[in-house]
């Protein structure tokens, strides 16, 4: 084949491929999954996408006689791109529901669209309290920050700790952790000092130095999933692990996805969270095993379980509505309750937010690998910022 013919053939092939993309089956239930698949939050996207695909592989792709189709899109973690992709999925692909949303701004940018287009929106990761209040079409299957931080504040106070310094990332969920932990901890007689680190390119050393100087009973940390390992390493490099200051936090710091790469420095860290890959239940054992098998031994983390349960909520809702979307689907998802790999969970009838157990865990070595081992449970926690 001459070079010219080769180029021509290439152009034709490209054209055909583009056309094939538009000629999709009409009678399908399409679910648009918008995730950060590249950029600093890749691990979030990867975990959720893998879990959603696993769910579909396990539960089949037919609901009410219609084929379910998952369209995965990369928003690179940039809010205006998320919004544009959501808009395209709604108007061009006519999706029944949109799902995903790795970070709070991404979910908030899209919320008005969900309302305008009456498209159910399942938030599988973003965790700031206000998200579900921004549109009546939002259902959440991940976690709400106050739900974890509030009860944790009470638990820490009960362990007899008096003085805690908090270090949180300076954005929505970080502020939520700081506020809810501090308020509850203070109400239970504790003293708190608050520090904030920037979201972009965090360098923790000056903050850790401040902590070392003030010598509290414990240091509470909240950073986005993925940044935890940097934090732990700097914590040990500064020798804070030997200074008697306990490291506590929400489970994001000891994220299952990165826990093994953090290494032994993480041993003994106490965290509160809604999911651990080591959660002791038959549902979770099956989930972890299937997930690892499908993803080259990758361990599922709390993002994955958010995606898995998000698909479950959509599937159960769609079964009830016979494949219809819109308000009916949101109504159908309200009040659902089931046994998730994380434990029992349900969708609040009134707030469309998640109700779940919060577990207190400690990092331990099991069979040569690090795990968050749960040792206390606070059952059926609602989002305290809405449960008034």
């Amino acid at each position: 084949m001459s070079r010219r013919n080769f180029l021509k053939a290439g152009a034709v092939a490209m054209g055909l491929a583009l056309m094939a993309g538009t000629a999709l089956a009409q009678d399908a239930i399409k679910i648009g999954l918008i995730l950060p698949m590249t950029g600093p939050f890749t691990s979030t996207g990867k975990q959720i996408a893998a879990a959603a695909q696993l769910y579909m592989a396990q539960k089949g792709t037919t609901i009410a006689g219609k084929k379910v189709e998952l369209i995965i899109k990369d928003d690179t973690g940039v809010a205006d791109v998320t919004r544009r992709i959501a808009q395209e999925l709604i108007v061009n692909d006519k999706v029944t529901a949109i799902a995903g949303f790795g970070l709070t701004p991404l979910a908030l940018a899209t919320a008005p669209l969900a309302t305008q287009a009456k498209t159910p929106m399942v938030v599988m990761s973003a965790a700031t309290g206000i998200i579900t209040e921004r549109s009546p079409f939002i259902v959440r299957t991940s976690q709400v920050v106050p739900q974890i931080a509030g009860p944790f504040g009470e638990w820490v106070a009960k362990q007899g700790m008096k003085r805690v310094v908090t270090v949180v990332t300076d954005y929505g969920p970080g502020h939520d952790v700081e506020k809810w932990f501090s308020d509850v901890f203070k109400a239970n007689g504790g003293q708190v000092e608050n520090l904030r680190v920037p979201l972009a390119n965090p360098d923790f050393s000056p903050f850790l130095q401040k902590v070392a100087d003030s010598k509290p009973d414990a240091l509470l940390v909240f950073v986005p999933s993925g940044v935890g390992s940097q934090f732990m390493k700097q914590f040990v490099e500064r020798g804070l692990d030997k200074s008697g200051i306990k490291l506590i936090g929400t489970g994001d710091v000891t994220d299952d996805d990165i826990l093994n790469t953090i290494g032994d420095v993480a041993l003994g860290v106490v965290t509160a969270h809604h999911y651990s890959a080591a959660h002791d239940s038959p549902e979770n054992k099956a989930f972890v095993e299937a997930f690892k098998k499908a993803n080259n031994g990758l361990r599922p983390n709390f993002m994955a379980v958010g995606g898995y349960d998000g698909m479950h909520a959509l599937y159960e809702g769609l079964k009830k509505t016979n494949g219809a979307g819109g308000e009916a689907l949101v109504e159908a998802m309200k009040g659902l309750s089931w046994m998730s790999p994380r434990g029992p969970m349900s969708i609040d009838k009134n707030t469309r937010d998640i109700i779940q157990n919060v577990y207190i865990r400690k990092v331990e070595k099991v069979g040569g690998e690090l795990f968050n081992i749960e040792f206390a449970t606070i059952p059926n926690v609602k989002d305290p910022s809405k449960a008034k």
Binding site: G45, A79, D80, Y171
Partner: protein, 340 residues
């Protein structure tokens, strides 16, 4: 060529200011897309805004030789200004756009004095620094900008009181396109004026420009202010058509992406930004649909190949490919507007 230097210069400007056939084709296609590509208005809107932003960088990079790594400062400032203006004052898009453009221009004027302080590397650092400082201010002033959560609750009124922003992005695209076209006409007029010629002189040899009596600093301040205003207009269009502003608008990757687009499209002829924005965004959209996880690899590969093949301008490359496909001899490179 005969005549006095003035006559030569005048003739040169008149020649370069004439509209080339390709330019008519380009704008016809851009406006034709309103009817021809109804399902792609959203991405087209993003492309045209990015193109306007890239064009604003071309004004200082391609015409005045100022390399900037912080051009997103003005883009972001315009976006926040337009967003906050819509929330706090009124939601009329045109009023917001004009004010955001003027405000960004004012910011450009103020910071231009910093930029004049050094040459290439120092300028890169200064522009980068300005963008970082503004980004951090936007991050900290949560009460005004929404901080890292982004600015929410932007509600835009209809354009001219007639056209509501719709879910399909039609109004958004038409609005952005018309504004971009008008701004382009103005920029085109400016770069083929004696003022534009003096800028190119400064770019090619600042010392000599000064020696023949061109007020170098004043010219640079003027073009920097103009470019800042253009970038601000692009940012305002983005804020108004997406009705949301987040810290990304001011982030380093915006400045870097837009520089990349100019590298792809070529500098110094105004269309470089358009070509680069189209190639970059379309590639990103198409490839990330095929492989949402690994599209950056392919983009990177394509960029490396582009640079290896040569830095001639996109249009020339396309012409060569076209000629080759039709089996005709390769055309010689030609400049469109005001190149050397």
């Amino acid at each position: 060529m005969q005549g006095t230097p003035t006559e030569i210069a005048t003739r040169h400007l008149a020649e370069t200011s004439r509209w080339k056939p390709m330019e008519f084709v380009f704008w016809l296609v851009a406006f034709g897309a309103i009817w021809l590509l109804p399902s792609h208005h959203l991405i087209l809107n993003e492309i045209i805004i990015t193109a306007l932003f890239a064009m604003s960088l071309d004004l200082i990079l391609g015409y005045a030789g100022i390399a900037s790594l912080g051009h997103a400062a003005f883009f972001g400032f315009g976006a926040y200004f337009a967003g906050i203006f819509a929330i706090r004052v009124i939601g009329d898009p045109l009023t917001g756009l004009v004010l955001a453009t003027l405000a960004s221009g004012a910011l450009g004027f103020i910071t231009s004095f910093l930029v004049l302080r050094g040459v290439d590397l120092a300028r890169l650092m200064v522009t980068l620094g300005v963008a970082l400082v503004l980004g951090e201010i936007a991050n900290k002033m949560t009460w005004l900008t929404g901080g890292a959560d982004g600015l929410q609750g932007v509600v835009m009124g209809p354009v001219l009181g007639l056209f509501e922003f719709d879910l399909y992005g039609r109004t958004a695209y038409v609005y952005s396109l018309v504004i971009t076209f008008l701004l382009f006409l103005m920029a085109r007029r400016i770069v083929v004026s004696p003022f534009g010629l003096s800028l190119r002189t400064i770019r090619d040899n600042p010392l000599r420009a000064r020696a023949i009596g061109i007020p170098v600093n004043r010219r640079l301040i003027a073009v920097y202010t103009l470019a800042a205003a253009y970038a601000g207009a692009a940012g305002a269009l983005l804020a108004q058509t997406t009705q949301f502003v987040s810290l990304d608008v001011i982030a380093l990757h915006r400045s870097a992406d837009v520089l990349l687009m100019l590298v792809i499209g070529g500098t110094g002829y105004l269309y470089g930004g358009f070509a680069g924005a189209i190639v970059f965004k379309v590639l990103q959209d198409v490839i990330s649909n095929w492989t949402p996880q690994y599209w950056t690899f392919w983009i990177g590969l394509i960029l490396v190949i582009l640079v290896l093949i040569g830095r001639e301008r996109m249009n020339h490359r396309a012409a060569v490919l076209w000629a080759r496909l039709r089996g005709k001899p390769e055309p010689r490179p030609r400049t469109i507007v005001g190149g050397h």
